[in-house]
């Protein structure tokens, strides 16, 4: 069992890393060819479709028929902090436009949406002008506090956590053994406590960090799993989300660093005096930049790559239809997509585990007290 898991883990790791490069090469591409009324059926269009899915969006898009022009989606509120203050409206006012064609005017502020980003037009401008790189020339980005799809996903995850763990907490009032959903959740809580927090942080201090570790573990896990549903969330694949999580971890281990930790970081004992400042710089860079960066990039890249692979395999249906016929291409795509999705379920857990594990490891490093001097 253990060996099997490890092999799978390594296999998927290599597999996912190979896919990142593929994913890394698109982006910034022109999407002029994507006219309304066409099916998404060329490799370029599929790439663009996937890239679009990987980004955050302002409405909850389920599916659409480009031939008839019908979109099945529901709008989410847009909240932006423009140059003239807060503006709120529903994303349906953009009419599914993502290329800056539709301009919404709210109390003198002209807003438009280009590639899932809200832009505010400069004063006096009536339409968005693009330069040759398809960058808007007369508009600038605004602080976008909208309830986007990702925020919506986070809210769902938060509500799920409240319902589940609230029920578990309430269950303990009736008796020592939880009932219902608590039976599933309790071993997970115990797992985080006994396998992640306790051995890495230490018996004395782990209790203080349990709320953070538990919240982060279940938050990431639920969002990873939500991303595997056809609803199409890609919350943990948003770099802002993973950056926020990583910065939280960084702040926690920097603010809870023991005297010994700072001593070892800034003025390493047992090392020649000349080397100490150099070591301090290296250690500081390690703790302030490299460790949080590796945390945020790992989660982001894993989840993005996972989504990319699953969607690419589903897209095989279209790409292989010409060569193998509809039945064979659907079968191959289904089998491969199923296989990868099963592995993605494992990765969903593994990434939540690794994030929590490394967080507690770093926290453990920071709070550790050496007794040898």
């Amino acid at each position: 069992m253990v060996a099997k898991k490890s092999i799978k883990f390594i296999a998927i790791l290599v597999l996912l890393m190979t896919t990142v490069s593929t994913f890394a090469n698109e982006g910034g591409e022109d999407n002029q060819h994507h006219e309304k009324g066409n099916k998404v059926d060329t490799p370029e269009e599929i790439k663009e479709y996937i890239a679009h899915h990987l980004k955050d969006s302002h409405d909850f898009h389920l599916f659409s028929n480009n031939e008839t022009g019908t979109h099945v989606s529901f709008p989410l509120p847009v909240i932006v902090w423009s140059s003239d203050g807060l503006r709120m409206f529903m994303s349906s006012e953009f009419h599914h436009d993502d290329n800056g064609h539709v301009i919404v005017e709210k109390d003198g502020v002209k807003l438009t949406k280009i590639h899932s980003k809200i832009y505010e037009l400069e004063a006096g401008a009536e339409a968005v002008a693009f330069d040759e790189h398809h960058h808007a020339e007369n508009a600038h980005k605004v602080l976008d506090l909208s309830i986007t799809k990702s925020v919506f996903g986070m809210l769902i995850a938060g509500i799920l956590m409240f319902l589940g763990f609230g029920a578990l907490a309430k269950g303990y009032k009736k008796g020592p053994i939880p009932t219902g959903v608590g039976r599933v959740l309790e071993p997970l809580v115990l797992y985080v406590r006994d396998e992640i927090a306790r051995p890495n942080i230490g018996e004395k201090k782990y209790m203080k960090f349990m709320p953070f570790l538990l919240t982060v573990f279940f938050f990431i896990w639920i969002l990873n799993l939500l991303g595997l549903t056809p609803l199409g969330f890609n919350v943990t694949g948003q770099i802002a989300v993973t950056a926020c999580l990583a910065i939280f971890t960084m702040i926690i281990y920097l603010t809870n660093g023991s005297k010994d930790f700072w001593m070892h970081t800034l003025w390493m004992p047992g090392v020649p005096y000349i080397l100490r400042p150099i070591l301090a710089v290296i250690e500081l860079i390690g703790f302030v930049i490299i460790k949080p960066f590796s945390l945020l990039v790992r989660l982001f890249a894993n989840m993005t790559a996972g989504h990319f692979v699953v969607m690419s395999l589903i897209a095989l249906v279209i790409l292989m239809k010409e060569a193998f016929g509809p039945v064979a291409s659907t079968g191959v795509s289904l089998i491969l997509a199923l296989f990868i999705t099963v592995i993605e379920i494992l990765v969903a857990f593994l990434q939540a585990f690794i994030f929590t594990m490394l967080s507690s490891l770093f926290i453990g490093m920071a709070v550790e007290e050496h007794d040898h001097h």
Partner: protein
Amino acid sequence: MYNLIGAGLIVIGAGLGLGKIGGSAMEAIARQPEAAGKIQTAMIIIGALLEGLAFGALILGK
């Protein structure tokens, strides 16, 4: 183009590293099956660190 070559080099390096970690972990587990849990945890941590490095390189090189 060079990006792709670089990505390939990163993946080769990371693959070698992961192979070494995984192989050593397997050997260790075969030698001491009762310590499988601890070895596995350590393996995952080192694998994650290596993965972070490789991803960092991939992202920076993009």
